[in-house]
Structures are given as structure tokens and as C-alpha cells.
């Protein structure tokens, strides 16, 4: 059934597609979960919908209320759409150094934006949102980094979809940000699949993004539980761009740079499986399409040019 009552009902149930050319062998295969096929074009539609529904069910969110969220992109865009459909005002706090398309999309869906200093990355956005929340106690902060409905969305939907479509799954690879995807899917698959490997791919940005004054200003999302993960890779800008380009050139999948970083980690574990002579079905997340990042110019030119273009940007 591909008919739905409304766009909100069309969230999830995304395709899982094989990568016949990038898979290293017939027995070690890569599978891409195309999360760009959600209503606003990213995996974040799932947590946005679940966090708002959970707040409604708990009675903390009523029509006309204002939602406040630190977000530099996809979660904000997803929340903006869901908020508009369900009658809420949305105020987003985001770093000033995110791509222009994000700002335009947020405003198109009716969100208001407060900019935080780019040098502080998402840390600064989170801190500023907390400050604003104390000034507006009636505003509702869903806080995707701590909201269990974020991980729950993936435990209840993304995880079961993956197992349904790929019962032979051996590895799941996703990006590590709020950690919601990895915590939710990871817990589900660990319950259902013996010796499943849950792999995190963490984007490594330019130095500007790590510009803390002190180690103690660091931040680990409240949702994060390291015991859910098997391994965690840090993927630099160059590798992410290289894999993003490979994905569109070799397999025809036009994705954002975070998906390139995830593919890089997926290929690493796939090649290890080949070396060890073990069969593997490696599922990885394509978190969004490349449309919002075209203005960076990083899809063309040399890799060095692309790396320069993304320096200081939050590309994932």
C-alpha cells in the first residue's frame, strides 16, 4: 500500500537498495537505506514526528504552543513541517555557518531562526537554546539530544524495517550525532540478531568546529550509550566527499556528505569481512539527499577544492 491519508502518514517505510558495484563481493554486500525518501527529505522526519507525538500524548504540547529547538538543519526542517501541519510555532537556534538552503527551507516551512556563533558549532546552539528556554518557560524544548522519543522512533520503525527487508543483516552503520538512530536501531537489532555489529560513523570537521575554550565545555548527548555500539569511526571531510561522489557516480545515489562518511565506514567493515573470509550484509543509512549542499560547490572540482569549500562548515 503506497497510498496515505496525509504527508505525515508517509513518514518511514523507506526503500533499502543494494549497491551491486560498490559491494566488494557476492557474499559481502552493501545495502543503502534511503532516508531521503521521507516527506521533508531526511531521516529526521522520524524523530520529529515521534517527539511531537510523544509530547502531545504527555500533554506538554497543545495547539498554539511554541517549540524551541537547537538544530542546524534536518531536524529543524522536519520539525517545522510537522509543527505547521499540527498547529505549532517553531523557533530554531542554529549555527550561522550552515548552508543557505537550510535557512531557506526552514523559513519556507514557517520556522523562525535565531543564529548562534559558528565557531561554537552545535555546542553553542545547544547552550543558547538552553538560555532562551529559561527566558521563555512556556516554550517547549523537545531536545533531540536527550529525548527518548528520538531513539524510540528508530527502535519502533527504522529497526524493524531493516530486519524485515534484510533478515540476513550482519552490520548496521549510521551517523553519530544525537545518537538517536544508532541507539534505537542498535538496541532493536541487538535484541533480534545474534552477533550483529552496530557501527558509528562520526563526522570530523575542520578545526573551527572544535573551538572550545576548555575540555569541560564538551558535550556528549544524553541519549548516548556506548554499550550499544560495536565500533566507532571518525571520518574526515576528504573521505566523506570522496565517498559521496562515488555513491552518485557508481551507484546513482545522490546523497549528502554525512552519507558519504557513513559509506566510508561501511566499506571499511565490508572489506574487513572479505579479508576474514566472512559473508556479510552491511546496511547503512543514506540520511539525506545532496540538494541542500549543492551551493557548497563540493560535488565538483578537485577533492582539495571540495575540502576547502567545506572547511569550517557543518557538513553532516
Amino acid at each position: 500500500m503506497t497510498r496515505y491519508e496525509s504527508v505525515l502518514d508517509a513518514c518511514g517505510n523507506t526503500p533499502l537498495v543494494g549497491l551491486p558495484r560498490l559491494s566488494p563481493s557476492d557474499s559481502v554486500r552493501l545495502w543503502a537505506k534511503l532516508e531521503d525518501r521521507n516527506p521533508t527529505g531526511s531521516i529526521k522526519d522520524r524523530p520529529a514526528l515521534w517527539m511531537i507525538r510523544a509530547a502531545e500524548a504527555a500533554g506538554t504540547l497543545e495547539p498554539g504552543d511554541t517549540i524551541l529547538e537547537p538544530t542546524s538543519g534536518n531536524t529543524g526542517i522536519a520539525l517545522a513541517m510537522v509543527a505547521k501541519m499540527r498547529g505549532y510555532r517553531l523557533v530554531c537556534v542554529m549555527p550561522e555557518n550552515v548552508s543557505a538552503e537550510r535557512t531557506q527551507l526552514l523559513r519556507m516551512y514557517g520556522a523562525e531562526i535565531i543564529f548562534s556563533p559558528g565557531a561554537g558549532g552545535s555546542n553553542a546552539a545547544v547552550a543558547m537554546a538552553r538560555q532562551i528556554a529559561t527566558e521563555h518557560p512556556d516554550w517547549v524544548m523537545l531536545n533531540q539530544y536527550a529525548n527518548i522519543a528520538n531513539a524510540r522512533a528508530h527502535y519502533e520503525t527504522t529497526g524493524p524495517e531493516l530486519l524485515r527487508d534484510l533478515p540476513t543483516i550482519t552490520h548496521f552503520v549510521a551517523g553519530l550525532g544525537t545518537t538517536g538512530t544508532l541507539m534505537g536501531v542498535g538496541r532493536y537489532l541487538r535484541e533480534k540478531v545474534e552477533s550483529i555489529e552496530i557501527i558509528a560513523a562520526e563526522p570530523r570537521y575542520g578545526e573551527l568546529v572544535y573551538g572550545l575554550r576548555n575540555i569541560d565545555e564538551g558535550y556528549v548527548p544524553e541519549l548516548y550509550d556506548a554499550t550499544v555500539l560495536s565500533r566507532r569511526f571518525s571520518v574526515g571531510t576528504r573521505d566523506a566527499v570522496l565517498r559521496t561522489r562515488q555513491l552518485v557516480e557508481v551507484e546513482g545515489i545522490f546523497a549528502g556528505f554525512s552519507s558519504g562518511a557513513i559509506l566510508h565506514a561501511a566499506l571499511a567493515v565490508a572489506h574487513e569481512a572479505v579479508k576474514a573470509g566472512r559473508p556479510a550484509d552491511v546496511a547503512f543509512v543514506v540520511a539525506d539527499g545532496g540538494w541542500k549542499y549543492l551551493s557548497t560547490g563540493a560535488y565538483g572540482g578537485t577533492l582539495a577544492d571540495a575540502e576547502d569549500a567545506l572547511e569550517g562548515q557543518l557538513w553532516a
Binding site: G73, G177, T178, R204, L212, G218, Y219, S234, S258, A316
Partner: protein, 93 residues
């Protein structure tokens, strides 16, 4: 001096501003001991009093998080690259 160590901005006050330094050791713990001898105080910023890695510090060997490789006991080989980064909220969420 066989292991390349990438130092984050906030720790460069210990390394005289160098972003990449060389160290040696068979494990991360050994390496940090060697770095502390070269740059006094360096280890204390990464390792807590109870001997674990600081919660807001991530250390990677060849791009893999050492917490999943034995933490401070993670093995090192000649030619490895170690990257130290503060834990931040990350990017576009």
C-alpha cells in the same frame, strides 16, 4: 618516535602550538606517558584521576575510537596516526 599525534587547538598550549607531534609507545597509555614527558601536563588533560579517559575527550587510532579497542590499553603500531578531539555536539541535527 614512530606515531603521529594530531593535537586539537585547545591542547596546543602544551605543545608549543604544534598541531602534529610525534610520540612512541605500544599502547595509548604508553604514548600518553611519552607525550607527558615531552609536554608536561599534557596527560592530565586527557586522563582523569581514576585513570580513565576524560568523558569529553575522544582519541582515535587510524580514525577508530580507542574506547572500542581497549581504551588506554589499545595497541599501537609503528606508522599509526592518533587523533585527539574534544567531544562536541556535532553538526547538522
Amino acid at each position: 618516535m614512530s606515531i603521529e599525534v594530531r593535537v586539537p587547538t585547545i591542547l596546543r598550549s602544551y605543545t608549543g602550538g604544534q598541531r602534529v607531534v610525534a610520540g612512541s609507545g605500544d599502547t595509548i597509555a604508553d604514548l600518553l606517558g611519552d607525550l607527558d614527558a615531552q609536554f608536561p601536563g599534557f596527560r592530565g588533560r586527557l586522563v582523569t584521576d581514576d585513570g580513565g579517559l576524560h568523558r569529553f575527550v575522544n582519541v582515535y587510532v587510524n580514525d577508530e575510537d580507542v574506547r572500542f579497542l581497549g581504551a588506554l590499553d589499545a595497541k599501537l603500531n609503528v606508522g599509526d596516526t592518533v587523533t585527539i578531539l574534544p567531544a562536541v555536539a556535532g553538526g547538522s541535527r
